[in-house]
């Protein structure tokens, strides 16, 4: 029977084509919307990862306990050796040492005395190496308002609002007053290469971006870093992979620390993005929002396809009557109806999923560029958004495509059992 039904679906295109198209469209839209919502929310988490926490972050235990105070006196030492070790053990991960700091930006008058000053939050990262990906992570140069990305040591980026408040422009010099790793004074003159907008009030009020080596020189942190961020190869954050990385790290470096006799407080520790303060709640929240949006859409699509199945079944009541009159049992007709719905649903879901997945791959590679719609790109709001590629996209289209179609036909098919031959003859005007 199944072979007969399948041949009928393929040959009787007048009857099967429209349902297959409807199911395909439904599956395609479900796949693409799931990917889109997951991608957009994933991008916001990715932004947090790029900016703040990495997919994983390595700090000393003492630094991790007070991380929001940027305690650089508790920073990682012998960072080059640690990085070599990390690149050997985790070759798939991109490692980025950074220094975070708080300081005072002092703008001089013509006599070299204080004209104005303001507190700044600082990021020091590798801006100048040839293959560095740090500018990309900070959405540079798109987020630059005036000037350009630093080209050499001694140049920094300042937040636009801070520069505007003190009348500073690219090319002007200012003094950064901070603290060395040992707690001493640090006064270093820098040149403003450009100004940036972060997109949040607090940071736009006072922030500075500089090259890592400049910070190491300014704060007497040679071969040191406050934190080392690790970025997994996946485009969007994968919590499971991050946790696996932490387990491998603890296995490898936990033994190393015991052997070397390092003070436990200053031995390196690794945290996933979700383990860092505040991030767990953001991750759970974004996953909940994502799940809710997808559920609502899948439910709506399921109702549409269920309705299509219902109408398809209702339309064929005359056919069912003839078949009953010809001696076919009601149960046999019902089962053939379900098999047809299953085959049409599967065929449409396969086609819709294939096209949907192809579109997801294409747009994931290219991304949607919204920067032309935004007055200024910022560091925290990149202009390009990409749909996410996850294993779920290969089967989520089947939920409305197959199950709803089958359910709709199952409901419509219950009318078969109420069919009476006398009504059939009446309908056929016999």
């Amino acid at each position: 029977m199944k072979k007969f039904i399948f041949k009928g679906i393929l040959r009787d295109k007048g009857r099967s084509l429209l349902p297959v198209i409807v199911v395909s469209l439904g599956a395609l839209l479900t796949v693409f919307l799931y990917s889109w919502v997951t991608g957009v929310l994933g991008d916001s988490i990715e932004m947090s990862s790029n900016f703040e926490g990495g997919d994983v972050k390595i700090m000393t235990k003492a630094y991790a306990a007070e991380f929001n105070q940027f305690p650089n006196d508790l920073a990682l030492l012998d960072v080059e050796e640690l990085l070599k070790e990390l690149e050997t053990v985790f070759p798939e991960i991109n490692w980025a040492p950074r220094i975070r700091f708080g300081a005072l930006a002092d703008f001089p008058d013509s006599l070299g005395e204080t004209r104005g000053q303001g507190p700044v939050a600082g990021w020091a990262m590798d801006l100048l190496s040839e293959n560095t990906r740090e500018p990309e992570r900070f959405n540079l140069p798109a987020a630059i308002i005036r000037g350009k990305v630093p080209q050499k040591r001694g140049e920094v980026l300042l937040s636009e609002d801070l520069a505007a408040r003190f009348g500073a422009s690219p090319g002007d010099a200012f003094t950064l007053f901070g603290t060395t790793m040992e707690g001493g004074f640090s006064f270093v003159n820098f040149v403003i290469a450009g100004t940036v907008r972060f997109g949040t009030t607090g940071l736009d009020r006072g922030a500075v971006l500089m090259d890592l080596e400049d910070a190491r020189s300014a704060f007497a942190m040679e071969d040191a870093a406050g934190e080392i961020l690790g970025f997994l190869p996946e485009i969007h954050y994968d919590d499971r992979r991050a946790h696996e990385t932490v387990v491998r790290f603890n296995d490898h470096f936990g033994q190393f620390a015991e052997i070397s006799g390092d003070d436990a407080d200053f031995s390196p520790t690794m945290l996933t993005l979700s383990q860092q303060e505040g991030m767990a709640q953001i991750l759970v929240y974004s996953q909940a929002i994502s799940a809710m949006l997808i559920f609502l859409f899948v439910a709506a699509m399921a109702i549409v396809l269920w309705n299509a199945g219902l109408l398809g079944g209702l339309r064929r009541y005359t056919e069912f009557g003839v078949r009953i009159a010809l001696g076919e049992s009601k149960g046999h007709i019902y089962r053939s109806l379900i098999w047809e719905a299953l085959m049409i649903g599967a065929l449409g879901s396969v086609l819709g999923t294939a096209v949907g997945v192809a579109l997801v791959f294409i747009f994931s590679a290219r991304g949607f560029d919204f920067s032309s719609f935004m007055q200024n790109a910022t560091i925290l709001i990149p202009g390009v958004v990409r749909p996410a590629i996850t294993p779920v996209i290969y089967y989520i289209g089947f939920i409305p495509g197959v199950f709803s179609m089958v359910l709709g036909n199952m409901l419509a098919g219950t009318g078969i059992y109420k069919r009476e031959t006398s009504r059939l003859f009446n309908e056929l005007d016999v």
Binding site: L104, E113, T114, T175, G183, G184, F185, N189
Partner: protein, 254 residues
Amino acid sequence: MKYIAILLTSLLAGVLFPGILPVPLCAQDNPEALALLKKVDNNLSSGSRIFESSMTIHGRRSDRTLTSKSWSRGEDSALTEYLAPASEAGTKMLKLGDNLWIYTPAADRTIQISGHMLRQSVMGSDLSYEDFMDDRKLTEMYRAGAPVEDTLRGTRVLVVELTAKVNDVAYPRQKMWVDAEKFVPLQREMYARSGQLLKKIELYDVQRVQGRWFPTRMVYKDMLKTGGGTEFRIESIVFDADIPDYLLSKAGLR
């Protein structure tokens, strides 16, 4: 009813005219404590002084020692020049009134420190810029409760509790253990208005200098920080010295 009216009127008068309330409702200096504070001020305060000092900061990972030379006149003018280590040598801090400037040869700049920055730590030590700057006499800033006898490190002391009587103090409350014979504080605890202990200072090696008793070693501990504290040692001190005016001016910074 009549009694309640009198009570309410008294309280209202106390709010509008604080001075008219009877003594138990408005704290005043204990005469014995006031005399004690004056003796302490006589030992610690002077018209001017020049001293050389070293400050050892016990950090989480390592210790650092900075040496400096300071000139101060009265409560409003003071200059400190750091002599060692090489990374800090030549850095100068000048206090004039409520203003503080720092000159750094590394950047060849004079930078003014003000506002909340004054509460920051100096050189990573347990002292803040406010601690360095505030040189006023205790009798000007605090009123004191009755002293209580006690013993500290084998020495008879008088313990006195101080409450600020002006608003612009770094520590609204203090507790002081004063050597009962030499009238020099041997221990001080500084508190916030809420009662939280902020800083603790232990004073040692009290020596006779130019007719006064003066502690030459102090250990500061910021109770809100982990770490071993800061040891401040006076290597040499001269009271009522003649200080050229140019030294205590911004022109003298460069």
